[in-house]
């Protein structure tokens, strides 16, 4: 009889167990069926340009970007000015093409100082989703050629061809902390020979950038470049920008307030001659329209 009781009990337990196993909901069963694959963070920033500088982002393979970038400003002490903030205008026309998902070539022409520039951008490391230690790293190499002096930005005459060329190397490091907040740090090295011999030829700088997404299509962005060994012959300031990025389908619109007149990396990082305030001549209004075309079907 005692034996019987044990059997009954054990069977009951078994029954209970088998019932338990089947009471798991179907959705819970499915959750365990997801394969473990590495997912990469998407859209740390919305564009390949953060505000005035580059972001870690590259477009996917076969994407062509047409960039129209502008800076408007007023001349100081211009009492006859008929315009609101557009006594002067610097326009940059640029193209970017993504050869692979990670590698982009680009170039452009700037009306201010008549600068031509070109660059290569390679996305070395992509941030992995749900990983606390993962970062995105992009390498950026830039070269520019200046043809015209401007009193606003000049460091001397440009007779020697070496003084017309400049090279910028950047390591862009960024992390998307939350869906809203992304931060970027950019160690920068600029190689340029200026007409004045007291200036350093190798300049080191550190860029800081961030975005805060306030709405699904709108984010606030800011950038600041700290220069470790600035030019000696003229007074320079760190380039700063505060702006709004608004993406509308294949068009990214960027509006910014900045103290940098140039849109060329080596120029605005090392040679921003104005401090950031709202005085005429110091305040630059930036407007960029970046249009994306997918050439690959």
């Amino acid at each position: 009889m005692k034996n019987n009781l044990v059997t009954t009990l054990s069977v009951l337990v078994l029954l209970l167990l088998s019932q338990n196993a089947s009471s798991q909901s179907l959705l819970e069963t499915l959750d365990k069926e997801y394969p473990t694959i590495t997912e990469y963070e998407l859209a740390t920033f919305k564009g390949t340009h953060l505000a005035i500088g580059q972001s870690i982002e590259n477009r996917r393979k076969g994407t062509l970007q047409f960039m129209n970038m502008n800076r408007f400003w007023n001349l100081p002490d211009n009492t006859n000015s008929q315009s609101f903030i557009a006594d002067r205008w610097n326009a940059r026309l640029g193209l970017e093409y993504s050869i692979t998902d990670r590698f982009t070539v680009g170039g452009g022409w700037n009306s201010f100082e008549k600068i031509s520039d070109s660059y290569l951008k390679y996305n070395l490391i992509r941030q992995i989703k749900h990983s606390k230690k993962s970062l995105s790293v992009t390498l950026f190499q830039h070269a520019s050629y200046i043809q015209k002096n401007s009193s606003l930005n000049s460091t001397g005459n440009l007779d020697d061809v070496n003084t017309r060329l400049a090279y910028t190397s950047q390591i862009l490091i960024a992390r998307k902390f939350t869906p809203e907040i992304s931060i970027q740090v950019t160690p920068t090295f600029v190689r340029k020979v200026t007409p004045s011999s007291i200036n350093p030829n190798n300049i080191f700088a550190l860029g800081f950038g961030g975005r805060y997404r306030i709405k699904p299509h709108v984010s606030i962005v800011s950038e600041y470049y700290y220069v470790a060994n600035p030019l000696e012959s003229v007074e320079t300031f760190g380039a700063f920008a505060l702006g709004v990025n608004w993406d509308v389908r294949f068009l990214l619109l960027q509006f910014q307030m900045t103290n940098a007149v140039s849109m060329v990396e080596d120029r605005f990082i090392t040679q921003t001659r104005r401090n950031f305030n709202s005085n005429d001549g110091n305040f630059f209004f930036g407007f960029n329209a970046i249009f994306t075309i997918h050439t690959k079907k």
Partner: protein
């Protein structure tokens, strides 16, 4: 007496094991959606949809990752995840429901209604979908079409792009189920 009890127990044991629900599963289910407007056509496809059916009580569950949808244009994929669906916050879309009057032993084609709850962006709506079910040997094929009203799931569409995105999104699915083994 002893013999009878043990026999009875054995029987209970046996039935408890045989009544263990038999399930069918797919790991490569297909879900695609289309937005047709006069301005622009948008379509995307997800080939990694999970679905399971319990043939004992005809319950069905579907689960998919939103970022597994593939678009023709890369930027559409980014905007879909980042700006519309917000897949960082709501990575999955799920469905839980029941196939009404479904007879799993019937071989061939049958048309049935699936009623249940569709969850996108943590918003749950009751829907019923007309489906075709084909049963051949061990394989079940369930397919169908239904419409999703964009506004139901509080998807933020800026007025400037409103003409490009349809108010209702046509959705299609096709699941080929195999017997489920743990």
């Amino acid at each position: 007496m002893n013999k009878i009890t043990s026999l009875l127990l054995l029987l209970i044991l046996f039935t408890s094991f045989t009544t263990k629900p038999s399930k069918i599963i797919t790991r490569q289910g297909q879900v695609s959606f289309f937005s047709y407007t006069t301005v622009e056509n948008i379509e995307a496809k997800n080939n990694q949809v999970l679905s399971i059916v319990n043939l004992e009580n005809n319950e069905i569950a579907i689960s998919m990752l939103m970022n597994a949808f593939v678009f023709k244009k890369a930027l559409m994929h980014e905007h879909f995840n980042e700006s519309y669906i917000e897949s960082d916050l709501y990575p999955k879309a799920t469905f839980e429901g029941k196939i009404i009057d479904f007879d799993p032993t019937f071989k061939g084609d049958q048309t049935k209604i699936i009623k249940g709850k569709l969850s996108i962006r943590n918003i749950t709506k009751n829907i019923s979908i007309k489906t075709n079910i084909t049963h051949k040997e061990d394989v079940f094929l369930i397919s169908g079409k239904f419409d999703i009203v964009v506004q139901d799931f509080k998807i933020n569409i800026p007025p400037i792009v409103a003409p490009n995105i349809a108010k209702t999104i046509a959705t299609e699915f096709r699941f080929e189920y195999q017997p489920y083994e743990k």
